[in-house]
């Protein structure tokens, strides 16, 4: 397969996953804004949301203080924000359009329909659009595209490159979502264990569509350790860091088998997976959640770099 084709497939998948993350963060912020703040008024976690997306400064420059309406526009429709749902879906479609020959007609149809619907949403009056519905629509569209990929694409190298895009981005995004929690908590560590703390963890679970999963898996009350275990180390939870890294390794292994060459990316990813598999929640908290997440994102980024140089530039290592 052309290296450029592989690269477009990989990035297409990354952007789809990223659009979903933005939508999840939007949902989480909107829900947190409905919670009373300690000492009166309501919480404003939008800064934390923007921080998690690495867009706080860009937002401030354009809009000033994070007012919900502006954050919604910025995160959903703003083409100047590379992490907005609109930018991500446009970029996903642009990548897909270039390599249409490598996509089944159902996959292309799902991506293109998403894009057309998004343009229709963009033309609607903002006052008629409800943020939760926009977020739901985004997640639904992402599911539609992934479903089309899952059920119609040939299980060839192209499929693996899309899978890699999903899993690498997903690992990064779960880490970012978790990190929002860190920023929210940062002002005062005395919140830990309070009723407010609990409800924020619950919101985080909801935004990952993991609330029920948590209840089923861990029974009992919500604690930071259990949630960290679910989102980082639980093999059953598909968005956990371990699951995402496992998927990355699986796709890289399949590529290495198919091509008969095991490049640097594969060994890097295997090493990372081995480390994660042996980690304990206590160690993570000892290290500091934020530090751990930063380290994870760094390792994940190295794997992405290696995928780039092993496969996506077309000159053997």
């Amino acid at each position: 397969m052309l290296s450029r084709t592989a690269s477009h497939l990989y990035w297409m998948a990354r952007y789809i996953e990223r659009a979903e993350t933005t939508a999840r963060l939007l949902q989480m912020g909107a829900r947190n804004a409905l919670l009373p703040d300690i000492g009166g008024g309501f919480r404003n976690d939008w800064e934390a949301v923007l921080q998690a997306l690495g867009q706080l400064e860009a937002f401030r420059e354009k809009y000033g203080d994070p007012v919900q309406r502006n954050v919604e526009t910025f995160l959903f429709f703003d083409a100047s924000n590379p992490a907005s749902v609109m930018s991500c879906f446009s970029a996903a479609r642009e990548n897909g359009r270039v390599v249409r020959t490598a996509l089944t007609s159902q996959v292309w149809d799902a991506i293109n329909t998403t894009f057309q619907e998004m343009q229709a949403l963009h033309r609607m009056e903002r006052s008629k659009l409800i943020v939760n519905e926009l977020a739901d629509w985004t997640l639904r569209s992402g599911a539609l595209i992934r479903g089309a990929i899952e059920s119609t694409q040939l299980r060839n190298d192209g499929f693996r490159f899309m899978g890699l895009g999903h899993s690498i981005e997903r690992g990064d995004n779960t880490a970012r979502l978790l990190d929002v929690k860190y920023y929210v908590l940062l002002p005062s560590l005395s919140y830990v264990g309070s009723a407010l703390d609990q409800s924020q963890w619950a919101t985080l679970l909801r935004s990952m569509h993991a609330h029920r999963a948590f209840v089923w898996t861990y029974k009992g009350e919500i604690t930071a350790a259990k949630i960290a275990h679910l989102l980082i180390l639980n093999r059953q939870f598909p968005r956990s860091l371990l699951s995402a890294t496992q998927a990355t390794v699986d796709h890289l292994d399949a590529l290495a088998r198919g091509y008969g060459i095991t490049p640097k990316a594969t060994s890097l990813a295997r090493g990372h997976l081995g480390e994660l598999a042996e980690a304990h929640v206590e160690d993570i908290f000892d290290e500091g959640l934020h530090q751990f997440l930063l380290r994870f994102m760094g390792r994940n980024g190295e794997i992405a770099q290696a995928v780039q140089s092993s496969y996506l530039v077309g000159v053997p290592e």
Binding site: M1, L2, S3, R4, T5, A6, E94, R97, V98, V99, R100, T101, S105, W108, D109, N112, T113, Q116, D157, F161, L255, Y259, I261, Y311, L312, V313, G314, V315, P316
Partner: protein, 470 residues
């Protein structure tokens, strides 16, 4: 102006080929028509059959308007067209082989030398080359117009990379999907063999150095090209890679593409970029679209390029006049399809005639395309005519003139119902091991009443084109 021939009507009667369509049209209520029309548009958008227009503002992805009323040719009409087009494609290729080699046609005094060697499309870099099977133009698009029941004229030839074939294929797909019963009532020859035939044609001109199954690719300027959809569509139908210049590189005697498994040798390049951009080392040094060193590989027989660099010299408007002479000279046959009579403003006596009859003629630039920069005399006002008189006097060699033909019209869906609109036809002839064409082509229609300009950039649309099976 002479009277317009309506392809549906003959002597006040609906022609047999159109009878079922006439019923279909009469029985279709206006609201159903509206619904079908928007269904067709939604299908085009959904499949993504758009052409890109950048830099004009508005939506960069435009649809070419699709008219649902098909255009019909009988088997007999098509037989004649097919023979004529194959003859023309053979002669154009013989001409190209000749002008880059012995130049017999020039020595025989049939074509003035300067028209060939001073032509911008003439490539010195390939003089003396002999591409595989001596084929230079592998896809010949012949633009035809009709003026009467049996009268067809060739408007121009396209020997480089004629576009539009994806519309021929998709218009048919959409008609079959929306109106299946029409295809039961009429026996319509299929066009979907085009992609197989194209792949066969391209594989059949693989270089001698290629052993085994040739690797064919389509070379596109990229996603911002207006015909990018067509490039990716054809690559998909043929199951070949769609590459950009950056995907290819030259090493040793061959051209390679960058893949996830390392370099892979490329044998045949169906290029959809112009000669000037193919190889920055040989042509334009600022080209980012091409592949440095490609022409050396091509000249030493390491890769085939379709159409061959230099093929454009055969489809120039000044050379066009001589195609009937080529047919007689190379094939020893009488031309089956006629040229439109053409005056060359480069010749003083013909130029004089043109200047005296500007209000009756169509004047075109020799290298112009897309319906721009032309004068349609009978529709022009005095100031436009005077402006052209000035231009022609300044640079006579830059212009040719033709009589205004009474282009045939086909029934077309318009605001008020169905009305005749002018049409042309572009079939696609493939030249490789065989010379062949699928029964059909792209019909372009001038949607504005009375307009003769069918270009999509100026209010033109497309129709499905039927050839009835015998």
């Amino acid at each position: 102006m002479p009277e317009t021939f309506n392809e549906m009507i003959d002597g006040g009667q609906v022609r047999p080929a159109y009878q079922s369509l006439e019923r279909w049209q009469n029985e279709m209520p206006a609201d159903l028509r509206q619904m079908k029309q928007s269904e067709a548009e939604a299908l085009f958008r959904r499949v993504g059959i758009t052409f890109a227009v950048y830099g004009e503002g508005g939506d960069p992805e435009r649809l070419i308007p699709f008219d649902m009323f098909p255009r019909v040719f009988t088997a007999g009409e098509w037989r004649k067209l097919e023979r004529g087009i194959r003859q023309r494609a053979a002669a154009l290729n013989a001409f190209l082989a000749d002008v880059y080699d012995q130049r017999e046609i020039i020595r025989a005094g049939k074509i003035p030398e300067h028209l060939v060697t001073h032509n911008e499309a003439f490539e010195r870099a390939v003089v003396g080359m002999r591409p595989p099977r001596n084929v230079w133009s592998h896809i010949v698009g012949v633009d035809l117009v009709r003026t009467g029941p049996d009268q067809f004229y060739v408007l121009e030839d396209n020997c480089r990379t004629p576009s539009g074939v994806s519309y021929m294929l998709q218009n048919r797909e959409i008609m079959m999907r929306m109106f299946p019963h029409l295809f039961v009532e009429n026996r319509i020859a299929p066009v979907d063999g085009y992609a197989d035939a194209l792949r066969h044609t391209l594989a059949s001109v693989a270089p001698k150095k290629c052993d085994g199954d040739p690797t064919v690719v389509i070379l596109t300027p990229g996603q911002f090209n207006s015909a990018y959809y067509e490039h990716s569509f054809l690559a998909d139908l043929m199951g070949v890679e769609l590459v950009e210049g950056q995907d290819l590189f030259v090493e040793g005697d061959f051209c390679w593409m960058r893949t996830t498994e390392g370099p892979k040798k490329v044998d045949v390049i169906y290029r959809r970029i112009d000669d000037a951009f193919l190889d920055p080392l040989c042509f334009r040094p600022d080209s980012m679209l091409g592949v440095p060193g490609l022409m050396n590989v091509y000249r030493s027989g390491g890769v085939s390029i379709c159409s061959a660099p230099g093929a454009g010299v055969a489809d120039d408007k000044a050379i066009y006049t001589f195609v009937p002479d080529m047919i007689r000279f190379y094939l020893g046959e009488a031309p089956i399809l006629e040229n439109v009579p053409t005056w060359q403003c480069a010749k003083p006596d013909e130029c004089k005639y043109v200047l005296e009859h500007l209000s009756e003629l169509v004047v075109k630039e020799v290298h112009g395309s897309g319906g721009y920069g032309m004068l349609v005399g009978p529709k022009a006002d005095q100031s436009q005519i005077e402006a052209f008189r000035h231009k022609i006097t300044e640079k006579p060699w830059n212009y040719i003139a033709q009589p205004t033909l009474a282009l045939s019209a086909c029934p077309t869906f318009v605001e008020e119902g169905v009305a005749p609109r002018h049409v042309d036809l572009r079939p696609y002839c493939l030249v490789g091991e065989r010379i062949e064409l699928v029964p059909g082509g792209l019909t372009r229609v001038a949607l504005n009443e009375g307009s003769l300009v069918v270009n999509s950039s100026q209010g033109g649309g497309v129709k499905d084109t039927w050839v009835l099976a015998e």
